[in-house]
Symmetry: C2
């Protein structure tokens, strides 16, 4: 028995080495781009009298908010590969999908190399998508009371630690952790203030995603964490342009008691890393997502929930797109999309 | 005389058409990238007890601020081409250098196609470079008085109009204006809140630029408007890694009475668009930059001030990297860099 399992282990190691070799070959060499660039989707003009308190810039006038920044690359050999839209989570920006904290290739480039036109967004009021300082300056100039200040929060390293499931609590680490914690200083630099709680529901990112999907005429919306619910809310607005949904560790799935009509026939993957049952924050969300998948399928859905550990990946954090095995996971995900999503 | 000038005009038109044809060829076809990605430079950890007012995120803990987001592409045929660092201006982000509002190629891609490794940054506390909400939440929770709110401003469309020199005042347009005003709605979406006035001098972007220049071991710092002074301040910190400075319509040049030692022997170009003398905002800054160039050269400098109109480009706004002739200007600038900057 000992010998047999040793052989199995050796075979598994050899298979993994082969996969890694193939992957290494796939991601080396020049990246050949047909076209790339950036643009905004959505946005509305707002008049305000408290845009500025500095003399060089007028207090009164018009600014544009709610737009969503989109950066994209289309490879030369995209063929029938479906465009992917990468939607980051709380307190982060589109940087989430770029070069990992320890300097490896991000999912943004990897998917382009796999042939997918790839679109990376910054959520509305975050990163390169403008917020407005009007509410802050309104309080500062005495026009409105202090309790009218916007709700803007940052996630501290210490608190984010357990949320991102690097370990049960700061600074403890789960055994076998795949997140490159030696590069955590670079990771913390990715985090930005989050205006979500000051914004309406659905978040302005949602109609912007709907407009983007319409323009692309077929895209898989790939969300993460806080943005997990956005693709589902987008599908409720309109199914136009949505070729599939991949929700990576969603903060919330639709409730199992919701109307499942918007999701009928739509390829849906809800994807989870490791240690989820050890997390009081994530375990209930996983449970609720299981119930959603069941309800969606009972109503003619094509939804699937996958624990990465069940398909051979162990030790994954909540930031699995940056874990050490991030490209192996992306490769698996590209395969899932190829098998399930018809453009 | 009439006939002669007609011939001259026809020749000039033919030359321009030829240039445009050559340029069109140069920017068509696939873009071949050796490597690309993003990272942060600089940054410091700060403890705060007012990071959040929402229950899901702790009020106390550590966040990282002052870091500078950098996105880059290195072409396969970079050869001896010097790396370029593109530094945006007020109320904007690195988006400044990407796809223009009317959907044409940005300078970021153009310079890569010309063979230059190209680095695009977001200034500290802007875009994908984190701000901190601690001062806002400190006031909101009654820990500090209202006058301790951060100074954050947005430039309104109406006020920005004259600053960007689309015309003398909103919504008047200078005759011959090259900015694609039909796409102004897309342009306004680029504008974000600006924390500059809450930050120390020099701006944290400056030491970050110094670190980046050191890492690149030779880069031309290309600034715009608000960031115009940054490359000069960077040179005062250290000349290490600075191969040249291009200040596009700088908000300020160093004073002519400053110590000119940091700039000795350094290739410096101060570049201006059109209508500058018609602008009460910009005319005095142009004058001060002329005095700086004179002082720098008197002290062994290699500084040059160029009005675009004097080298054949007319009708350029303050946002000349987005004007209709933006790629012709970039092509001219690439030529200037080739002639003046030795890596």
């Amino acid at each position: 028995m000992f010998r047999f399992s040793s052989v199995l282990a050796a075979l598994a190691m050899a298979a993994l080495a082969l996969t890694q070799q193939a992957l290494a070959q796939e991601i080396s060499g020049p990246l050949v781009i047909a076209r790339e660039g950036s643009f905004f989707v959505g946005g509305r003009d707002v008049h305000s009298d408290t845009l500025s308190t500095v003399p060089a810039y007028a207090a009164s006038g018009t600014v544009t908010v709610d737009q969503m920044y989109v950066r994209y690359q289309v490879p030369v050999d995209s063929g029938t590969h479906v465009p992917l839209t990468l939607i980051h989570g709380c307190c982060l920006t589109g940087k989430t999908w770029e070069t990992t904290p320890d300097g490896r290739m991000g999912w943004d480039e990897f998917f382009v190399r796999k042939g997918h036109p790839t679109y990376v967004i910054d959520q509305a009021w975050r990163g390169r998508s403008a917020a407005s300082p009007a509410a802050i300056n309104s309080v500062r100039t005495g026009k409105t009371p202090v309790d009218q200040l916007p709700t803007v929060f940052s996630a501290a390293h210490e608190g984010a630690w357990a949320i991102f499931r690097f370990g049960p609590e700061y600074p403890k680490v789960f055994p076998g952790m795949q997140f490159p914690l030696e590069a955590q200083a670079e990771f913390w630099k990715q985090m930005v203030p989050d205006w979500l709680a000051s914004l309406p529901t659905p978040n302005p990112t949602v109609p912007a995603l709907s407009e983007l999907a319409g323009r692309l005429d077929g895209t898989v919306l790939i969300s993460h964490s806080q943005s997990g619910i956005y693709p589902f809310q987008t599908a409720v607005l309109s199914r136009h342009g949505i070729a599939g949904i991949v929700a990576i560790e969603p903060g919330a799935c639709p409730a199992a008691t919701d109307d499942m009509t918007p999701y009928a026939g739509l390829p849906i993957l809800v994807l989870w890393g490791d240690y989820v049952d050890l997390s009081p924050r994530w375990a209930p969300r996983l449970k609720a997502c299981r119930e959603f998948v069941q309800a969606a399928n009972a109503a003619g859905g094509k939804a699937e929930l996958v624990m990465l550990a069940d398909v051979g990946f162990r030790g994954n954090s909540h930031m699995l797109m940056q874990d050490r095995d991030s490209l192996q996971i992306a490769d698996w995900l590209a395969g899932w999309i190829d098998r399930h999503v018809i453009r």
